[in-house]
């Protein structure tokens, strides 16, 4: 861990598969998530989701239910315990139920899909989330996105709008990042159709196929973009915008995908970026150096390119003796994200000047 952890570094890339899946599935607000495993798996994730929502000023108790397996359930099989938990879940009148597996139930081979297949009046969707099978946090996110997508109807009427796909619900800047992308899309006259998945209800998924373009949060979600393209024919942009030039290219890409003319929008954004950079005139010419945000994270060439681009734009000099600037992780989103990053640079540079 960093000696001075900040909320913005709360990336959970290599965490538990179950946590990744819950970060998505619990955002379907009228669903209940049943976690099939020992009570501790649920408690741990409940605490984490609750704490994260509090730190994002969005207090919400995730609707989690545990099958609370004990040793005799493992020996005799946990399927009966899952049946019982599903009854409890149904008593909460959810619009949908997700059933998430854990390492131990996948080890003993409980047939979760078979239990879920029984007709209960509401959709009961299994999400495979046993981490020991080689998955990480991100695997859980992808499995959950695919599972939630299965609740959407096979087709819907196309509108000139965009979906945000796979937002990082546990990152500190999740809503700021969505607002930034939404600001950029507005330049092209595109409203956001569906945040897939953040703060939605089950019936909102009826709109999943209606967007003209899907904006993936990051390239790793490619398989989800492909799947939605296969189902609805929706083209996708593989990542939220990053970097000054990258943000302008993002506008061009989205325009191409939707058949919208972009030169005017790009011109406006360039002017907006120039105005943003002007606010940091006071640190122009400073000496800085970049360092990894965490000892276990290797330098990301994409992030390095963005940092160098910003340093050039502000005539900062890269110098081994310069002020140590932690590389952002994940990379800042859009022009707004760069503005917040430069603000942190300025704080560090001023601290050094004061000595």
């Amino acid at each position: 861990m960093r000696s001075n952890p900040s909320p913005s570094s709360s990336s959970r890339f290599e965490g538990c598969t179950l946590t990744g899946a819950l970060s998505v599935a619990t955002e379907v607000r009228d669903a209940v998530c049943v976690i099939h495993g020992p009570a501790g798996c649920t408690h741990h994730n409940f605490s984490l989701l609750h704490a994260t929502s509090l730190s994002n000023d969005r207090p919400a108790l995730p609707r989690l239910l545990s099958t609370s397996l004990v040793e005799s359930d493992i020996i005799f099989g946990g399927e009966d315990a899952l049946e019982t938990a599903l009854e409890r879940a149904l008593a909460l009148s959810p619009a949908s139920i997700f059933v998430l597996s854990t390492c131990i139930v996948e080890t003993i081979g409980d047939d979760i899909a078979a239990v879920c297949a029984k007709d209960r009046g509401v959709p009961v969707i299994p999400i495979p989330t046993a981490g020991f099978l080689g998955g990480v946090f991100e695997t859980g996110v992808k499995n959950a996105l695919a599972a939630v997508a299965s609740l959407a109807p096979p087709s819907s009427e196309r509108t000139l709008s965009a979906n945000l796909i796979g937002e990082k619900n546990l990152e500190y800047g999740v809503d700021e990042n969505a607002a930034e992308v939404s600001r950029l899309l507005k330049r092209l006259g595109l409203p956001v159709n569906l945040r897939f998945v953040r703060g939605i209800r089950t019936h909102d998924l009826d709109r999943l196929g209606a967007a003209a373009v899907n904006i993936l949060r990051e390239p790793a979600l490619g398989p989800i973009g492909e799947e939605l393209k296969r189902r609805y024919g929706t083209p996708y942009i593989e990542s939220f915008p990053t970097g000054l030039g990258g943000t302008c290219r993002f506008l061009e890409e989205v325009g191409r995908a939707c058949g919208i003319d972009t030169p005017a929008a790009v011109e406006e954004e360039r002017a907006y970026q120039a105005a943003m950079l002007e606010r940091f005139d006071d640190i122009a010419g400073s000496r800085i150096r970049f360092q990894s945000p965490h000892p276990i994270l290797r330098g990301d060439p994409e992030v390095e390119a963005i940092c160098t681009e910003c340093a050039d734009a502000l005539s900062l000099t890269i110098d081994p003796e310069g002020v140590a600037i932690p590389s952002p992780y994940p990379p800042p989103v859009g022009t707004g994200g760069i503005g917040r990053m430069l603000h942190r640079w300025r704080v560090l540079i001023r601290d050094r000047r004061r000595g």
Binding site: E71, I74, I75, F76, T107, D110
Partner: protein, 296 residues
């Protein structure tokens, strides 16, 4: 190939951890292919030892829970795992899980899940933990009767430190049965590499199927895995007849020749203080071994 045997002192006093039994108690386990006659052999062995006035505990380690059935006249005694499931393990006493059978043999069945669900291996581990907590693992001899294949760590439980020190492989001359026995020898060899391991191979018991040259074949197999055939049990109709009467041969036909065979086995096993670390055969070796003995 020279046979290397480990000789135990006549009355070993094992230094068991956490207050486990410190008597010079003999703990043995029978392993072998499913259906080869482990339970029949174990029940008759227990009956013959009990006849001699020894205090015997036989523990069936198989979800089928039929190891001790012939000792209790065909009744199905409650299994440890069913009791744990019904009552929770805090509310179980020794009397709930140990049942007296023929000649006072104390019988325990681990039990386990229905076929095709759950984790039977974990069930064996839970059973052993409960029996230890209840201080039920005592007597002159404990006989562990374990299901055919050591498919996971749970079924190797009786071979772990503090439990069976002598493993007996039950096999016939049929190749699949020899093959299974060789696999179990691999488990013994593996576990014997662990620090403080006391588990070793006591010998091979040939439970005959009346195949030509069967005794020689099993003898040679035993020799090749660095062990010896300790007993040959001929096939006898009386075993099936006794089983239909839901009794051991020792009880049903105490004067029969077959009862004598089981009493001899009991004497040999009880007096056996020579064990070995097995050297299991490789697959190609076992195949060429088969070709030597089987007339095509």
């Amino acid at each position: 190939m020279a046979i290397r045997f480990i000789c135990h002192e006549p009355h070993p006093r094992p230094n068991y951890p956490c207050g486990l039994n410190t008597d010079p108690m003999k703990q043995i386990a029978l392993y072998g292919k499913g259906g080869i006659g482990k339970s029949t052999t174990a029940a008759n062995l227990s009956a013959a030892l009990a006849e001699e006035g020894l205090d015997i505990l036989q523990i069936g380690c198989d979800p089928k829970h039929d190891s001790t059935r012939m000792l209790v006249h065909g009744t199905w005694i409650p299994t440890v795992l069913d009791l744990i499931r019904e009552r929770g393990d805090a509310n179980i006493t020794v009397d709930d899980v140990v049942y007296r059978g023929f000649a006072g043999v104390r019988c325990v069945e681990a039990g386990g899940p229905e076929p095709g669900i759950g984790c039977a291996g974990r069930g064996i581990i839970a059973t052993f933990q409960l029996l230890e907590r209840l201080d039920a693992l005592k007597g002159d001899v404990i006989v562990y009767d374990v299901l055919g294949d050591v498919v996971c760590g749970g079924f190797a439980m009786p071979m772990r430190e503090g439990y069976a020190r002598e493993i007996y492989l039950v096999t016939s001359g049929e190749l699949m049965s020899i093959y299974a026995a060789n696999n179990i020898a691999r488990a013994i060899a593996r576990l014997s590499r662990r620090a403080r391991s006391r588990c070793s191979l006591g010998g091979v018991i040939c439970n005959a199927k009346n195949i030509e040259g069967e005794a020689e074949l099993v003898e040679e197999f035993a020799r090749r895995i660095n062990s010896r055939m300790i007993a040959y049990i001929p096939r006898s109709r009386i075993v099936q007849v006794a089983e239909l009467q839901k009794q051991t041969v020792i009880e049903y036909a105490p004067e029969s020749e077959q009862a004598g065979v089981y009493r001899d086995l009991a004497r040999l096993v009880y007096g056996n203080d020579t064990t070995s670390i097995p050297t299991p055969m490789e697959m190609d070796e076992i195949e060429s071994f088969a070709l030597e003995f089987v007339q095509v």
